[in-house]
Amino acid sequence: MLNRLKWIMLAAFFSCVMLISGCAEKKQLEKLGLSTAVGYDLEKENHIRGTVVIHKFDPLAKNLTEIITVEANTSKTLRQKQNLETDQKLVSGQLRCVIYSKELAKKGIVQLVDALNRDPTIGNTVYLTVTDGKASTIMNMDKENQKIDLGTYLYNLIKQNVESEQLLLPTLFEFNHRYNDHGKDPVLPILRIKNGNVILSGVALFQDDRTVAELKGDNIFYLKILSDKFKSGTHEMGFDRSRFKKLIMNQEGNAFRTVYKKLFLNIDNIRSNTKIKLVDKKNLRFKVAIKLQSRLLEATEPLDLANPANIEYIEKVVGKEMEKEIKKLLIFFQKNKVDPIGIGNEYIAHNRGKMLTKKEWRDKYKDVKFDVHVQNTIVKTGVID
């Protein structure tokens, strides 16, 4: 009996202590300003300019988002200064998107990324992006008419593109992973303003934490094939019409095909499997074997697909074309000394003994040779032949 009383006394004592000592740090949702997007620009030497989009919960205000721009030396000071300019406490738990200006990205962004990593409240799935112009212009764009806040908009924009497999995942986690791997380099999407809207215009290739090159258009598709297992995504290819002469069905009287000078095929990728293998350790020869299963979606000429031989022919031609393109791309990477595919990882995995450092790999990378094999299978041709 006494024993129980003792417990109750203890519990009472404890609750008193907790209440008196003012509990833990409290953050009430409605008193917070949730920063959903942050942008960094290089202002001048030693100075960066930070812009932040804040989501507020204020039933009276018309605009739910607020944009604040300040300058400082480190990102946390930026936050502090931004905090001075708003009535609500800024927290970054809901941060969705970080934008770096290209200028800044060319100089290196690892300090800023490190600050994101260090903060436990920031999730691992924040999207990192690079912009052509200034980050602040993107964030200040069309302030008045925004329905949802910019952070969420950008998040959805990128997410949609990632899910339809147009982009490599540009999360903070992925960036860290690639940055920290000895044989792999980060890749981030590039944002641009077009007609008052933010669009994705390409992919920035990083050497360590510095942007050194850009990829546009088709090459993003190949990059995606090379570095990921890949389940969807369409691709358009142009060929000389002469190569398909045999296949083109004779349809007399139809003149529409003269719209195009070339023959275009649109291929929808169903499944791809890429194997990069080190075949010759001494000569640094890699075999890049790509297996594609695809669907023919569209052709600008009526092709005779009922004949299996014809399909085989298309497969071969498309495969050859891809091989060429991929080889070009790989050499482009080599020239810029970037390794977004992770060829270095493959090399390190087959190299016993002491682990290669990043620098050692870069020295070796320029001597790497590739054999590219693409095996393309057209498994479906749509509902018609």
Binding site: N3, F14, V17, H177, N180, A349, H350, N351
Partner: protein
Amino acid sequence: MKVNLHPKESLLFNAFQLIFIIHSVQVGVGVVGLPKIVFLETKHDAWIVVFFAGVLTSVILWFMIVMLRQYDSADFYGIHVDVFGKWLGNFLSFGYIIYLIACFFVIFMNYTEIVQVWIFPKLPTWQLAFILILLAVYAVHGGIRVIVGVSFLSVIGTLWIILVLFVPLRYADFTHIYPIMNVDIKHMLKGIQRTSLSIMGFELIMFVYPFVKEKHRALLYVQIGNLFTTFTYTLVTFISIVFFAEDGLSKVIWPVISMLKIVRLPNLERFEFIAVSFWMLVILPNLCLYLWASSKGFSRIIKRTQKMGIWIIAIVAFGASFFVKARYQMNMVTDLVAKAGFYAAFCYPVVLSIIVYLKKWLARRKKSHVKSA
């Protein structure tokens, strides 16, 4: 002090529960940092090293059980007295009690630190420490049966976290584990030594053994428990290695929690918050068992009630929590305990069991000599 301990029939628990005791007492605050610590020594072969450490543990467990089987129903304190006599034996037991209390201390302090870093930066250490100690004291007051129950429910209640660990595998890069076995013996041994903080805890079998109902089956269940732990640890380390990049893993402090940051549920974005909170359930049996074992020693050696021992130990541990202020101090204490654990849990029991075995063997020989003569 009597060597053998004969608890009441109603206090005994099924040998089957040893699986949960061993597993729950091994898995604690150590495992959240395990992949990083071992990785620092052995690089990407850490998972193999962790597996070997588990195998080594199972060998040591075999030693322990063989030693315990030499007696009818003795615990560690009783064996000490039997082997070394009253004074030296009790002195050694006392040293071991201090080690147990230190483990107790390190567990709740480390958990408090994790909470402070991940959730409440401004939470005073003593507040959470106070709650955790109180919970442990409350449980230990219920005796061994309640503690066994806590470890059982803790294992059952946290099994699902293992399933969650498969989510990071989606972002894995399996080239990281190649080339396999690219580590030399020296680093490997060092790596095994570094696992001690996570794997230790199994030494508590020497304290709970008298309370096992079917003692002849203890070995089997202890090994199953350890196997399960080894499997979990190897899996966790493996996933950490393929998930993090080389330089990334050596940078993070708690790779397991960092890894869970990637998990997102539709109605719960920050999964690691839940994981950190839930980790309390993982460490609860550790706290209880260490507190129980040390207070048991207190009552066995000093011949006072165990309740008194519980309160004294709790107050001492709580008082000590005020002395650790910065992260580096905590690191120092943790390293110290980890080292002590390596000697106390891995090396010493083996030595002790050899001594016990020799002693019994000599005694038997003498007896047969007397008979034949």
